[in-house]
Symmetry: C2
Subunit: 258 residues, 2 copies
Amino acid sequence: MPTARILKMPLGTVERAAATTAPQDVLSEGAATFDILRQMREDILCCVLKPDQRLRFGDLRQRYKTSVGTLREALSHLVSEGLARTEAGRGFAVAPISLADFLDLSELRVYLETRTLADAIRHGTDAWEAEIVSSYFLLSKLAPPKTDDPVSVKREWGKRHKRFHDALVATCTSPWSLHFRSELFDQARRYHWLTMIHARSRRRNEHLDLRDAVLARDIDASCALIERHIRTTVEQAASEVPGLTMESGRRARRTRSR
Amino acid sequence: MPTARILKMPLGTVERAAATTAPQDVLSEGAATFDILRQMREDILCCVLKPDQRLRFGDLRQRYKTSVGTLREALSHLVSEGLARTEAGRGFAVAPISLADFLDLSELRVYLETRTLADAIRHGTDAWEAEIVSSYFLLSKLAPPKTDDPVSVKREWGKRHKRFHDALVATCTSPWSLHFRSELFDQARRYHWLTMIHARSRRRNEHLDLRDAVLARDIDASCALIERHIRTTVEQAASEVPGLTMESGRRARRTRSR
DNA sequence: AGTCGCGAAATTTTCGAAAAAAAGCGTTTT
DNA sequence: AAAACGCTTTTTTTCGAAAATTTCGCGACT
């Protein structure tokens, strides 16, 4: 069973806490390419590289201090993950965002998050609970970042946020579900930064409620909470950030027409 | 079964716009890298490159007549698709197969196939029906390949089989669902060749039944058919091909110890 | 016997330059 | 004025060799 490995994993490691046993998440941890890939992924997720932004090799080479080949391989991965696009002969660009896309992926997310969470609760262990407690604690020590917070703060919060959510579903027995869940979670992260900019009073204790429901092994309550967690964010985005989310569609068309 | 509830669940409300742009299926059709990628994918899907087989650059370079960089990029993609694995410094290998994996991915497939099919039927058009008729016709002209059929025959049948199934869900309005469905469909293809080897009398008209149910716009019947289509194959594999499906686990270990 | 170490061979990873393709631009043509 | 052409510049794509790493084989040591 793949879960066995998760359980043995030391809980202190901040980096790759969970989801490592999924079918193909692991590229090759030690390689330099992997570092570049991770950096670029973070930059896209945190919107340092903005949607629809063109990714020229000249710039990238300078930014990441590496060769074209390595970059190309990393970009290739990002395309597969849906974080970048490429057209023959026209290089790469950050994947666009749109309200339609956010709605679509959130809909699937609800299914995958509830499915994996329910299964994880059924197969929960002590180590699983411990990692949930631990990762929640780390998350709670950081306030959700505001618009003008430096990127490093956003990055760190994003990391802890992901770690917490990964911890919740870590004991799910379906590697494929976990894999797709993780991919969609990352996709959603891009939209989160946009909604946060406009979010006035942050709804407070959703993560705490979630943690407690999960630790109480209450499947129905947990799934209901995570479903609302996702749906609330979508609705917020749909109503509060219409300008930004629609903007990318225009920009995408402009790029193509030129 | 939870699937009954799933069938009635309508998809998100506002996905019309998203229907046109798939998330990331298209790499870059014109490029040479894309050709190599497609060739390698086919070779893995048809088990010309066998599960757990190591993919050395020397051999690959000769086989596909291309450079290391290009190969690396293609392999990189295959890893993302879950058709290959890689470990830092140890190169690439074809992804292993196992009964557990087949069971897991089939379970998710049932959900994604029924979800996309139901939505596609709701949004069906004349062109959609025409392509279903056409692709079914092409599929029906070829008998399902036997064990000793040449690879080219298997390849062609596989191509038509995929085209038919793609046609069924073509008008689904959820790009993400379509994307994941397609990925899992390809994964399942690898297992199909193994089960076919042992399948005695091929159950005949499943595709025809499916076609007619879909054209009649009967969502419940269509979904029930495709669900059984998937489940039957899994059960067949589980009971009839225990030796083969279990073998890969051993082989994987052997490769590593070597 | 087992294993530890060390050099040789095989293999992977990284790199930047050459080739190919696209974009930009000014001039000419309709 | 808009389209068409040919030129230069920019950017992408492809390639194979150099560097780094792992694997293998063999002899010495515990």
